[in-house]
């Protein structure tokens, strides 16, 4: 539906900002993601009408209101399902799903899983603040076990879900993680997600400074994060640390952190990141947990497979090919009729 009547123009961040006041708490990590998305769309250079943002319910799910694109703030947990119907109907619109850890993995866990297995061509941004923000601070499915919150004054009992592991189990074709307070990385990761054909799943570590301040600080703090996360690059050895002197090796069935260079292992011994590897190895990576190991950020997995919406179009084309495009009268008459005179 991109109409090409006017001559191509450049878009700015302002073109993607709606007229609504942004109403997150001052200091919330959501702001930086909003800024990054607007910047990305301006960079892509397509007009605002080419996009739709669909969200569930939660603080992060207010996102669409702030974008000057098509948008829907739907109901809790169902953004992925709404987006599925939307994308199947409008394969020409670049579709983004905005969701939270509660929205996507608690009430909406099943839709998320099925979206991923179907490989519908939408981009999912999961704002993981490890808490229910909007309902004022209960633990979420990504909160660590033992978390004390309003609803768990003696600590939560359930083991957390790992978003990347769930995505990999559903054989998601694009799985990534990034961090609200790491704008460059955030920007680059979102760009990759936008470019991917098929479901792009991006977990964003996001700070809820009101109810869970600093829960993800190890990955957010500019000063220390280089030692706590590892930035993945396809085809590159897995190196991390402020001085790039640490790395990851595959030791039998395990991943291990080692020193690199003098006194450590040579760089050539490190595991080389392969976005297209069978997801067994990605699963090991997804389970790397600080402080035992640095947590991977960037694109874990990116493979190309046909999208659900493409396949749907192809079936329709095939049906038309086989039967001719639908003849209503023939349909109404059915396979056998008789005549009354």
């Amino acid at each position: 539906m991109t109409t090409a009547t006017e001559e191509p123009r450049k878009y700015t961040v302002a073109d993607f900002a709606s007229d609504q006041d942004v109403r997150w708490c001052p200091g919330c990590g959501d702001y930086s993601v909003l800024a990054a998305v607007k910047k990305l769309l301006a960079d892509i250079g397509l007009p605002p009408e080419n996009y739709a943002f669909i969200s569930g319910i939660g603080c992060s799910s207010r996102f669409p209101y702030y974008m000057n694109t098509y948008g829907m703030h739907s109901i809790h947990g169902r953004a992925t399902a709404v987006a599925t119907g939307f994308k199947i109907t409008r394969p020409d619109i670049q579709t983004w799903v905005i969701t939270g850890d509660g929205d996507a993995l608690s009430i909406g866990g099943n839709h998320t899983m099925h979206l991923l297995r179907r490989n519908v061509d939408v981009n999912v941004l999961l704002f993981n603040n490890q808490i229910y923000g909007l309902t004022k601070g209960q633990y979420s499915p990504t909160s660590p076990k033992g978390k004390k919150t309003k609803s768990t004054p003696m600590g939560s009992l359930d083991r957390p879900l790992h978003p990347l592991c769930i995505a990999l189990a559903a054989e998601a074709t694009f799985v990534a993680r990034t961090v609200d307070m790491h704008p460059k990385h955030l920007q680059a990761t979102l760009k990759r997600a936008a470019e991917h054909r098929g479901t792009s799943f991006v977990e964003i570590y996001q700070n809820c400074n009101i109810f869970n301040d600093g829960a993800l600080g190890h990955a957010q703090d500019r000063k220390t994060r280089a030692d706590n996360v590892i930035e993945l690059e396809h085809g590159k050895p897995m190196i991390f640390g402020k001085d790039l002197n640490k790395g990851i090796v595959l030791d039998g069935q395990h991943l291990r952190a080692v020193d690199v260079g003098e006194g450590g292992v040579p760089e050539s011994a490190l595991l080389v990141h392969d976005e297209q590897a069978p997801s067994g190895i990605h699963n090991l990576m997804a389970r790397m947990k600080w402080p035992d190991l640095p947590e991977p950020i960037g694109v874990l997995r990116a493979v190309q497979e046909p999208t659900y919406n493409e396949l749907m179009e192809a079936q329709i084309a095939a049906a038309v090919e086989q039967k001719g495009s639908g003849d209503l009268q023939k349909l109404l008459s059915g396979r056998s009729t008789w005549t009354v005179e």
């Binding site: 994308k87 008459s333 005549t339």
Partner: protein
């Protein structure tokens, strides 16, 4: 040559105006197919017909058990037919369990045609018979014809070379042949069917043909039957007919609406009895651009349809009661978003899992009120299988015109029954005009997504349209701008608007009509699939001299504008429903009319007889 498409009569033949018969046997005995073929040949011959299949809840219960019995009833007539019939004239029973389950519906003096070979020791035991009812005298008030169908079938198959279980499996065609003789049916349609269905497998084709004829000849030859019957052609409007089930008609209606509006169907659904067949039917017609999406659950089904509607498509979802319960929250969302959405509820016996394969009308209040907040939607209900076609188109027309969710209330009875249908001329169907917003509509060149037209409807934009980007959501929104609003007065205003919008739909609805007397002693009020029974009951009551009108309400929210007036013309109003009184409640509260209720919650349709006697009681009060 007997293979002509005309009735086979003889001097022994007696003309009768109508007949009701039921084929019953094990799930695996092919009774549905048998019944459908008999229906087909009757319709092709020119009778009016109405059918009622009755499936067991189990997929394949062990052979011979009562809960594995599958039945197919049809009523064919030389005049108009509105129901599959109360009582049976003839029951075909392939085994003791089939007899046991169905005998209570056979009228006194009715005919039993039993497959004698099925009445083995073991089958009698499985059905819970201590002695063989065919011989112990318990069936004395009926006319019993035991026939060795299995043996005869195996014999006939031998001739063409089919043996063993495969041969035995043909016995339903033996029964069919025999009943065709009994009712002087034309054989050609069935022969054609056998030839096309089994054409690829000559052995089976020939065996079935042979067996079918053997059954027919048995009737003609054996001394068993004193006479046979003929039911003359009905006086049907001329034209091309086909048979159609409710679910099929509904699917075709959706495709027609799609063609008439230029909006492709997006059908989001999760399988459930008795709605699944709509999905199956639609999935077969991708050449019309139909997109069927088997969702992971009912919530994904309805929300994906909402996504499709936001995308500018024709979003449809369907389920039965338990699934509709799951869709409630999202239906509220669609109401607030003011997007067109079709929600189909093929009702079945409830509450909870209830009686999945049985019919009921007990979800009316659920679809009226089963959402949080004051959340009115449009509700319509077809009265017959073929009406599902017209009303599907109407549902889409309303949804598009008013940007509103429309609930389409079907039921298991309508969904699975078939009737002859005068095939519509596609070129004469009225187009559905959809005008998408393409330009800003605000005083300052801005786009106002909640600016309303005369129907209180808001603009529908196809995403991708430049300049009309907007955001919608489930939080209360300011009228006109659509922005989130917590303003108290706006909330009151929007609550009122959503209600008025539904009421305004009545501007476009036909007035309520009455069958029979326009005023008088009693209005038989009904809705949905009880139409035929109420119609026949009304005819009978009027023949008996009562002043009775049948008021069948197809539009339940909003009601037709003249409904109150119509009802007030009767001394008594009785609302007849397959529930505990749901429409009755709406009518009483809305009009303060002291409406009585005639209710039945047994998983099956009314009997015309029970309606008549209940009505007579009321009339005599």
């Amino acid at each position: 040559m007997i293979a002509e498409a005309k009735a086979q009569t003889s001097p022994r033949t007696q003309d009768i105006p109508r007949a009701t018969i039921r084929f019953a046997g094990d799930s695996g005995d092919g009774m549905q197919l048998t019944g459908m073929q008999f229906t087909k040949t009757s319709a092709v011959f020119g009778n009016d017909v109405s059918t009622l299949p009755d499936f067991p809840a189990e997929i394949r219960a062990p052979a011979g058990t009562v809960y594995g019995v599958s039945g197919f009833q049809l009523h064919f007539s030389s005049s108009d037919v509105f129901t599959p019939g109360d009582e049976l004239d003839t029951l075909v029973a392939m085994n003791p369990a089939a007899l046991k389950v169905n005998i209570k519906d056979l009228k006194n003096g009715g005919l039993i045609i039993a497959n004698e070979d099925g009445f083995t020791e073991q089958n009698l035991k499985l059905a819970g018979y201590a002695a063989n009812p065919l011989t112990d005298g318990t069936l004395d008030k009926y006319t019993v014809h035991p026939v060795q169908m299995t043996k005869a079938t195996v014999k006939a198959c031998e001739d063409v070379g089919l043996i063993g279980r495969d041969a035995q499996r043909c016995k339903n065609f033996y029964a069919l042949g025999l009943v065709c003789w009994l009712y002087s049916r034309p054989l050609k349609p069935i022969i054609d069917f056998i030839e096309s269905k089994f054409g690829k497998n000559e052995l089976v084709r020939d065996a079935n043909l042979k067996v079918f004829h053997a059954g027919y000849y048995f009737g003609e030859t054996a001394e068993l039957f004193q006479k046979n019957y003929a039911v003359k052609k009905a006086n049907l409007p001329p034209g091309t007919y086909r048979e159609i089930h409710g679910n099929e008609a509904l699917a075709l209606g959706l495709i027609a609406a799609s063609q008439l509006s230029g909006k492709p169907v997006f059908y989001g659904s999760y399988p459930i009895t008795p709605a699944s067949d709509i999905l199956h039917e639609l999935a077969r017609h991708k050449e019309f651009g139909v997109k069927t999406f088997q969702a992971e659950d009912e919530i994904a089904a309805v929300t994906s349809a909402i996504g499709a509607a936001f995308g500018g498509g024709l979003g449809v979802t369907a389920s039965a009661g338990p699934g509709i319960a799951l869709k409630a929250e999202a239906m509220g969302l669609a109401t607030v978003l003011e997007l067109p959405l079709i929600v189909i509820n093929v009702q079945r016996g409830g509450p909870s899992t209830g009686l999945p394969t049985k019919t009921e009308q007990s979800d009316l209040l659920q679809v009226m009120h089963g959402r949080n907040g004051d959340c009115p939607v449009v509700v319509i209900a077809p009265a017959t299988p073929s009406e599902c076609f017209d009303m599907a188109i109407e549902a889409v027309r309303i949804a598009f015109r008013s940007m509103i969710p429309v609930v389409f209330l079907s039921d298991g009875y309508i969904a699975n029954s078939a009737e002859p249908w005068l095939v519509p001329d596609a070129s004469k169907l009225e187009p559905i005009v959809v005008e998408h917003a393409t330009e800003a509509n605000g005083p300052n060149g801005e786009f106002l997504p909640y600016l309303r037209d005369g129907n209180l409807s808001r603009p529908w934009v196809i995403p991708g349209t430049p300049g009309l980007m907007h955001r919608i959501g489930g939080l209360e929104k300011a009228d006109v701008t659509g922005n989130v609003s917590y303003d108290p007065d706006n909330h009151q205003h929007m609550t009122n608007i959503r209600r008025e919008k539904v009421e305004k739909v009545a501007d476009h609805l036909p007035e309520q009509t009455v069958f029979g007397d326009e005023d008088g002693d009693l209005a038989l009020v009904g809705w949905g699939g009880t139409y035929g029974q109420l119609h026949e009951a009304t005819m009978s009551l009027r023949e008996a001299g009562y002043k009775v009108g049948h008021v069948h309400i197809r539009h339940l929210s909003p009601f037709p504008r003249n409904l109150e007036q119509v009802l007030r013309r009767f001394r008594k109003v009785v609302v007849c429903e397959l529930n505990t009184g749901q429409l009755r409640m709406l009518i009483r509260s809305k009009f303060l009319i002291d409406a009585d209720g005639l209710n039945k919650v047994q998983g099956r349709p009314f009997m015309v007889g029970e309606l008549i006697s209940a009505a007579e009681k009321l009339l005599k009060k």
